[in-house]
């Protein structure tokens, strides 16, 4: 079973939910200097790819104090008692203004993470935060999206092309715990992207449907392995 470190201040609800969790978790308080000195290896990168790099102050302001930074640790050898925290993956969390809802962002995977790591961390984060539901922004090209649909049954697409994520198209999705999101509605194969060339057109159509009042859900396409299917609940 994976171990986790949650960096959260007592001002955040995450401080309380993580400490109450049944998972193997260490909670560090960024407001206390002794804990703060341990945080460096748990930080997302501060330089490099602009879609993943995040300044130190922004991690503090947007996540550590009001929300949480959640790190999944590598397994350590039994004799490795004094090694610093060695994260396999890190994600940031900020509470939504609606109590019980959280936004997850700034996902960073280390090079030896597997394809399942991101979804494992997201599921663990939802559990550690005791979230009723959570939003997440991630690239359409990220296989995590498909894995989440496999595990959760479906996710709701809130926005097909999120502004200010400029390197590649990003989706904003809403996740609920398994069994709580069972969309009725019409399967819409015409809204699915059939390869990269088709993606931009498909995203425009999805955006139009959502802005026109439809609710759009993504799920695994049973007929085409590795592809997302779209289900629409029209207004």
């Amino acid at each position: 079973m994976n171990s986790y470190v949650v960096i959260a201040s007592p001002e955040s609800n995450a401080w309380h939910t993580a400490r109450a969790s049944k998972r193997h978790v260490i909670v560090l308080d960024p407001l206390r200097a002794p804990d703060a000195h341990s945080l460096t290896p748990l930080q997302p990168p501060t330089e490099g790819d602009p879609e993943h790099a995040i300044p130190r102050w922004a991690v503090y302001d947007c996540a550590e104090v009001p929300g949480a930074v959640i790190a999944m640790l590598r397994e350590r050898a039994a004799d490795d008692a004094i090694a610093p925290f060695a994260p396999l993956a890190v994600i940031l969390a900020a509470p939504h203004a609606e109590p019980g809802d959280w936004h997850l962002f700034g996902l960073n995977l280390h090079s030896d993470a597997t394809e399942r790591t991101a979804a494992d961390l997201i599921e663990a984060a939802i559990d550690l935060l005791d979230a009723r539901q959570a939003t997440l922004v991630l690239p359409w090209s990220d296989p995590t999206l498909l894995t989440l649909c496999e595990r959760l049954g479906s996710v709701e697409l809130l926005c097909a092309q999120v502004a200010l994520h400029s390197s590649q198209p990003h989706a904003a999705v809403l996740m609920r715990r398994r069994g709580e999101l069972r969309p009725e509605g019409l399967a819409r194969p015409d809204l699915s992207a059939d390869g990269e060339d088709d993606l931009a057109l498909s995203l425009d159509r999805l955006r139009d449907r959502i802005e026109g009042g439809s609710r759009v859900f993504l799920e695994v396409d049973a007929a085409h392995a590795g592809r997302l299917a779209v289900r629409e609940v029209a207004p």
Partner: protein, 279 residues
């Protein structure tokens, strides 16, 4: 107590408030802060295509305020660490009401009828719905001296906190920051940290303000609270030993607050939190 009768009232009558948040949040926000209505078309759903151009202008506002040597926020954080979980609110003006050539001078792309943000306040919830963490207060007061925007930052913060219905605000700022003059107008700032190794600049204080609507309205009217205590001790912002010593006392359980704005030498007044204040 002194009252500034010109600035805030004039700013509220000439500038337009705006709000950026996801569509489902607008119903829980106060869209008549201090009796000033936020027009429906100035409520922007952060996930809609309609908000995109305004978001780009907000990024530009941030860059103009804090400059290249400041601490620029990655563009995507205006969504993920700001308007999606929280709220961006502010005051703006139509592009054709700006001084001639100001749009080009500021590097803003805007059609004449577009709303140009002149100031913004960004906060995310900490313990929703009433406790919020403010992390960005930007204003073009210095870049547009001809518009006489004095007091704009303070007004924008008060307006934002009223829109969010915030009763406790947490934030962080540097001991050397001029923003302390703004934050101290909202009352005693209880120190959660004095020395903050978790921040990019350890000489950062983390503070907490207790608020209510009448206090916010007084601040918005330009009423200065004055020094909370007559007998503070003073922190010299570059005296890191003194700041560390204060942090050690906080970590041992003592409670302190910044009780007024910095003096002319930049020294910050700090006093113990009395049991009465703590209650």
């Amino acid at each position: 107590m002194s009252v500034e009768r010109t600035g805030p009232a004039r700013l509220l009558s000439t500038l337009e408030p705006f709000v950026v948040a996801p569509w489902w949040r607008f119903g829980s926000l106060n869209l008549r802060p201090f009796g000033v209505a936020v027009r429906p078309d100035n409520c922007f759903d952060v996930l809609s295509s309609r908000a995109e151009r305004l978001l780009h202008r907000l990024v530009r506002l941030d860059r103009l305020t804090f400059g290249p040597e400041g601490m620029p926020m990655p563009r995507w954080l205006f969504v993920d660490g700001s308007a999606l979980p929280g709220v961006i609110s502010g005051l703006g003006i139509r592009a054709d009401e700006l001084p001639p050539r100001a749009v080009q001078r500021l590097g803003l792309e805007a059609r004449p009828s577009d709303l140009v943000p002149l100031a913004m306040y960004i906060a995310v919830p900490a313990r929703p719905p009433l406790v919020w963490y403010g992390h960005n207060l930007a204003s073009l007061n210095r870049q547009l001296p001809e518009m006489e925007l004095g007091g704009l930052a303070t007004l924008t913060k008060a307006l934002g906190l009223s829109i969010m219905r915030c009763t406790t605000q947490i934030g962080a700022t540097q001991w050397t920051s001029a923003a302390l003059h703004v934050h101290a107008r909202f009352g005693p700032m209880e120190l959660l940290t004095a020395w903050t190794p978790a921040h990019a600049n350890p000489a950062t204080l983390t503070y907490k303000l207790e608020l209510d609507e009448s206090l916010l309205e007084r601040v918005a009217q330009g009423i200065r609270p004055g020094m909370v205590t007559e007998d503070p001790f003073w922190i010299e912002p570059r005296d890191h030993d003194a700041i560390r010593a204060l942090e050690e006392r906080i970590e041992r359980g003592k409670r302190f607050a910044v009780v007024g704005p910095p003096d002319r030498k930049g020294r910050v007044p700090v006093a113990p939190v009395s049991p009465h204040q703590a209650a």
